[in-house]
Amino acid sequence: MLIEHEPYSLNAAEKQPLLLAELNALTLHHQQHCSPYQHLVKAQWPAFVTANQSAQLPYLAVRLFKQLKLQSVPDAEVFKVLYSSGTTGTPSRIVLDSATAAIQSKILVKIMQHWLGKARLPMLIIDHPGVIKDRSNFSARGAGIQGLSFMGRNHCYALNDDMSINFEALEQFCQQFGDGPVFVFGFTFMVWQFFIQQLKQQQKTISLPQAVLLHSGGWKKLQDQAVDNSTFKQQVLTQTGISKVHNFYGMVEQVGAIFVECEQGHLHCPSYADVLVRTPGSWQTAAVGEEGVLQLISTLPRSYPGHSLLSEDRAVLLGEDNCPCGRPGKYFHILGRLPQAEARGCSDTFFPSAKERTTP
């Protein structure tokens, strides 16, 4: 099983046969246990039996999880349902049984440990504590923070409920742990807007030279401010002394097997996941270097048919097994979301405002 391997340990020749065997088994499993999925496979891939390469696998438009409740387990085995708000405001519903939830957590830990080390580190969270307290209005942000909290200890929230910096807590944290390795986590926009920018405006710096900052959640708002990844990293270094900064990409529809950015600024597939880029319209796979829509493949989803999803993100595949960072596997760039289809329908005069998508 791929989950027994280290996150970045397999080259294509080693990985693809294992990946295909597991994905074919998953496809069959979902065909047998999720009848809408079976309907789709028969309708769109009538000749499908097994895939000889991952490009032949059926794929599901990710927004279907907003529109339909898709599960491959009986109701009695449902352990929990994950919700996320998306751009249309309708949440995705991801049905987990206990086994799938456990594997997701296990794999998330495995990937995180690659970047953070095995020991639990003191953890600085760039958010306010209220974000996980309000259970009735539990956001994707809250879920992401909670999901990663067990990777750390001595948790400290850097912000107050009004998004100002809690300098007292921050300074105490830096004093106590600043000399050693620490884990800093936050959503990309929160880190930029409410932490780095505030430190800069108030002409304050902190010193966390051995920290690792992991951040996620999309670049749209930063792009609007013309902030790119290198500007982001430079500013983080200036204000906090953190030089190890890694963005990661993932979605609630495929929790666990996340894609973390390496030192070269490339998002990497872990052993348990893969990506393809497809050209809109023909939906054929695009070559390396060619822009298209990202298809996400993961061996983890067993309780819902989410092992092969067509995302709404534009991306470009950069290569496989040849990233200068040395990690094997495919690596890629996210170019942003597909623009919202222009509102021209008779049925959309009255439309809820779009929300920013957040991803754990």
Binding site: K42, Q44, A61, P280, L310, R344, T349, F350
Partner: protein
């Protein structure tokens, strides 16, 4: 949001005699402004509107509604129009017909309106000085549904016209209008295209090209977003014949689409995602065929869920019919325009008399988007005016 008047009046609005020369002149001036505007080239809907607004088009269109010896036509009064955000220029059609009926009009534009609306607003503003009376009777506003000004206005109207989604219409119905006032509502609709398989098989190359051009104009000018653009293609003929006709028709259409590229990547995604949604939520086992950016889903019946779920953007449901009456139990009030190609008129007419539910309008393929005073089974001229019957 506050209440914003986009073309403020310079004089007080007064009701007018229906079909007044000055009102036609206003339409003619707007027509010329639109057809001359360089920006119109980017918006086919503005060109179509420009042609529709010509006096030479409007006068014959309205001639049948002139006074007769049995009645005198008078305006309805103050009419409120709520425009949809989609086919941007749609509001002008009903607004102008109401203006020509002599009414005072207030037109609420969506704040999300697209580029062609901006051009229209600019042209309408530019005419205010030359046509102060018409401008005052054709007021464009932007406001939220809960604005106090809107509420006050609605409480004094003689009629209102609500375009848009079913939700938007219900939301606007919360505002009370006077007991005597009329309401016209044009909610969510689903249109169909009927094609005779035998006729398609009998076409030569040129005739086939003409058919796909007309079909393209109806369906892809607005990425299938106009309510009269067909979302389902009904093939009349025996199964084998239909299959042959499809094999002739779709490659010709996709070739044209390849050439014109009418759909952007988001729309292409939308078509695929919607096709998958329909397939996964249907009780039937549907079949999907993808050809370039066109997705086709073969169905055995038109399920009511298709009406809400189908988002267009290059997605066509296909249904084979051996006999037109098979369609009757599938039709609902939401089925609006039926565009037809290659079906014998006698056969069509006989069948139409049996279809008591659904279908407001039957047009040749190529004319789905043309506007007529009869819309969704309602005559707008009659609704925007009062017939004063006089036996003297």
């Amino acid at each position: 949001m506050s209440w914003i008047i986009l073309n403020p009046p310079t004089i007080k609005a007064e009701l007018q005699q229906p079909f007044a020369e000055q009102d036609f002149a206003y339409c003619q001036a707007l027509s010329e402004a639109l057809l001359k505007a360089p920006q119109s080239r980017d918006f086919p809907d503005l060109i179509a509107l420009g042609f529709w607004l010509r006096q030479a088009n409007l006068k014959p269109l309205l001639a049948p509604y002139q006074h007769s010896q049995h009645f005198i036509r008078q305006p309805l009064g103050l009419v409120f129009h709520s425009a949809p955000a989609n086919v941007d220029s749609l509001f002008v059609y009903s607004g102008i017909l109401s203006l020509l009926c002599g009414n005072k009009n207030v037109i609420r534009l969506s704040s999300r309106s697209g580029g062609s609306t901006a051009v229209l607003i600019e042209k309408i503003r530019a005419l205010a000085e030359l046509f102060p009376a018409q401008n005052a009777r054709f007021q464009l506003v932007q406001c939220s549904y809960d604005s106090a000004e809107l509420k006050a206005l609605i409480s004094t109207v003689n009629g209102r016209v609500l375009w848009g989604s079913d939700q938007a219409i219900q939301a606007q119905r919360q505002l009370t209008m006077p007991a005597h006032a009329r309401e016209l509502s044009f909610g969510h609709k689903f249109s169909l295209c009927l094609v005779g398989a035998e006729a398609v098989l009998a076409t030569n190359h040129e005739q086939l090209q003409q058919l796909v051009q007309l079909f393209y104009r109806d369906q892809l000018t607005f990425a299938q977003q106009g309510c009269s653009s067909a979302k389902a293609v009904l093939w009349l003929g025996e199964a084998a014949q239909v299959q042959q006709a499809q094999q002739r028709f779709w490659p010709a259409l996709t070739e044209l689409i390849e050439h014109k590229q009418p759909l952007n990547s988001s729309e292409q995604y939308q078509a695929l995602a919607t096709a998958q949604q329909l397939i996964m939520s249907s009780e039937q086992q549907l079949m999907l065929t993808q050809q370039h950016s066109i997705s086709r889903v073969a169905v055995n019946t038109l399920e009511p869920v298709f009406i809400d779920q189908h988002q267009g953007c290059g997605l066509f449901l296909e249904l084979q019919l051996s006999d037109l009456t098979q369609l009757n139990p599938m039709l609902t009030q939401a089925h609006q325009t039926l565009t037809v190609w290659g079906v014998e008129p006698g056969l069509l007419k006989n069948w139409l008399t049996t279809a008591h539910t659904g279908i407001d309008r039957v047009m040749p393929v190529g004319q789905a988007l043309s506007f007529s005073p009869d819309w969704d089974g309602v005559n707008l001229i009659e609704q925007f005016s009062r017939k004063v019957v006089s036996t003297f």
